[in-house]
């Protein structure tokens, strides 16, 4: 009996020790060949073959591939973006396996359309993906909205207007699609249209990430608008006094503005030499076209403050 207990104790200790050693050795291996961890590849690239190999369980396989797509995008993005060469094949496999997997179209087009390093910067593939989604889910107005957004981003206002119009004819379509169609046809490229687009995105989604993204874009549009207006007032001050103001207090004293102007996050704007209006916390306000301090390098991963 004692002998048996001894053997059990020794075997247990050897088992635990060996497993721990094996885990440590794997970590050493990873350190010795770091490229092996980062190297990602597709073992099967044909959707047809994969569908057959799934033996009818293609729904689960599509979920696995969608999760893999999200992980791939997230990992590549957090490493600073760059090459997203597997993004389209992964999205193609996912949607071919399950053509009704709507999140794959909605998020996939965002991943594809965003400019590098934020995304793959491939609006053609994004449009192809969403068109395939519409073909397989013709009653889903959200997909028309996504496609119209891609056209809008490409400044193809005619196609954007047509796609909004098609979407507005779908059952349960949100009424703003009709408004967007008209707005797009009339004023494709102005601030107000952009504001309406992002407002609509914000209001029609329940996804916190999309809401935070839309809120960030709305803030950016607001800042662009504010900076334009403030720089016009700075110009007015310069015409009146013959020099640019160094601070907003000087403009208040001159009666040009009533108080220190605040950005959408309630932080004060600043003035740089030459009357340039900038935000004080640019990291909190991604996607800005105007108002960036001189020499500022935007972060690779935009900071998305949760929408309030």
């Amino acid at each position: 009996m004692i002998r048996s207990r001894q053997i059990t104790a020794i075997a247990s200790a050897v088992l635990l020790g060996s497993m721990a050693s094996a885990a440590l050795l794997i970590r050493s291996m990873d350190r010795a060949r770091p490229e092996a961890i980062t190297q990602q590849m597709l073992y099967v690239s044909s959707p047809k073959l994969l569908k057959r190999l799934s033996l009818g369980y293609e729904g689960l396989l599509a979920d696995v591939y969608w999760t893999r797509t999200v992980q791939y995008f997230g990992t590549t993005h957090s490493r600073g973006g760059g090459n997203y060469k597997l993004l389209w094949p992964l999205l193609n496999l996912t949607t071919q396996l399950d053509p009704h997997l709507i999140p794959a179209y909605e998020f996939g087009e965002t991943f594809l359309v965003a400019k590098p390093p934020q995304g793959a910067g491939d609006p053609e593939k994004a449009a192809e993906l969403v068109r395939f989604g519409i073909q397989n889910n013709p009653g889903d107005w959200h997909l028309y909205y996504d496609l119209a957004f891609i056209y809008y981003d490409q400044k193809d206002y005619r196609n954007a207007a047509q796609t909004f119009l098609h979407g507005s004819q779908m059952p349960d379509a949100h009424p703003f699609l009709k408004v967007m169609a008209a707005q797009m046809a009339q004023h494709g490229g102005d601030f107000e249209t952009a504001r309406m687009m992002w407002n609509a995105t914000y209001q029609t989604t329940h996804d916190k990430m999309i809401q935070a993204n839309a809120a960030a874009h709305l803030r950016a549009i607001q800042v662009d608008d504010d900076v334009n207006a403030l720089e016009r007032l700075v110009q007015k001050y310069q015409e009146r006094t013959g020099r640019f103001p160094l601070t907003f207090s000087e403009m208040i004293a001159a009666g040009v503005i009533k108080g220190i102007p605040l950005d959408p996050l309630r932080h004060p704007y600043r003035l740089e030499p030459g009357g340039v209006v900038v935000v004080s916390n640019p990291d909190d306000l991604p996607f800005l076209d105007k108002g960036l301090p001189s020499g500022y390098i935007p972060s690779v991963v935009p900071k998305l403050i949760p929408a309030n």
Binding site: L55, G56, G59, T67, V70, Q71, P103
Partner: protein
């Protein structure tokens, strides 16, 4: 069901429980818990889909593995242990033995599926916090999965009635794989001519059509399953199983057990 078939079925069920077949429920419970908790953190907006797809796929695959690996030994194990002779020396007919074994294993799989279904719905409640009317589709998919088990059990029993366990497992598994391609086989037959067409068409109708019994992806998206399909699938599974069991009885009746 006569009492002799009932007793053989009950014993088969007890034996399966004694063989710790229901232990697979622990693995299933761990899988569903992990899926419900983890998927939300590693993917986007597919929590419900994954719970339904993974849950139903696991129910199906676990059951098919059990049906094949228990089914193939139902006859051969009794011969090896010589218990078959004791059974047949009593007033039990060979066909009753086959029918009893079939109902016993099918019953085990139904009980197993019942507990797994509770797991699927519990995970669904955890990720969704409520049930929607389209979740009835999950019950339909589970019913179709049970129909798959009935066919596979009949096939495993059929092969077990004349072959060794290893070959029975290979045959049953390959019929499951080919049955998943039944629709492709028919499409292939439609594209060919002459003798090839007839052979392909014959093979397509001969193998079990598992593709029609798989509506997992459909119900995961909340799409309804037509009631007509429920009736046709039920009739198909019954007719096919009866045909396979009849073949098993024919072979087993003529088998020299000495």
């Amino acid at each position: 069901m006569n009492s002799r078939i009932f007793h053989i079925a009950t014993n088969t069920f007890r034996e399966a429980v004694r063989d710790r077949v229901l232990y697979n429920l622990i693995g299933f419970a761990l899988l569903m818990s992990a899926a419900a908790v983890l998927v939300g953190q590693i993917s986007i907006q597919i929590e419900r889909l994954v719970v339904i797809n993974l849950g139903l796929t696991a129910v199906s695959l676990f059951g098919i593995v059990i049906a094949i690996f228990i089914g193939i030994g139902l006859v051969s194990k009794e011969i090896d242990k010589r218990t078959l002779y004791t059974v047949l020396s009593r007033p039990v007919r060979r066909w009753e033995f086959i029918a009893g074994k079939f109902f016993g294993l099918s019953g085990t799989l139904v009980v197993n599926t019942f507990f797994m279904a509770i797991g699927v719905f519990a995970a669904l409640a955890y990720v969704s916090h409520n049930f929607v009317s389209s979740d009835v589709g999950v019950l339909v998919a589970l019913y179709f999965i049970v129909l798959q088990f009935v066919i596979i059990t009949a096939l495993a029993l059929f092969f077990s009635s004349f072959s060794t366990p290893i070959f029975s497992a290979i045959f049953a598994f390959w019929l499951f794989v080919i049955g998943s391609f039944a629709q492709d086989l028919r499409n292939f037959a439609a594209m060919t001519h002459g003798l090839t067409r007839w052979l392909a068409m014959g093979a397509a109708y001969l193998v079990p059509n598992f593709s029609a019994l798989n509506v997992i992806t459909q119900v995961a998206h909340g799409e309804p399953v037509p009631s007509q399909l429920i009736l046709i699938n039920t009739a198909y599974a019954l007719v096919y199983s009866v045909a396979v069991l009849s073949a098993a009885v024919l072979i087993f009746e003529r088998r020299n057990l000495k």
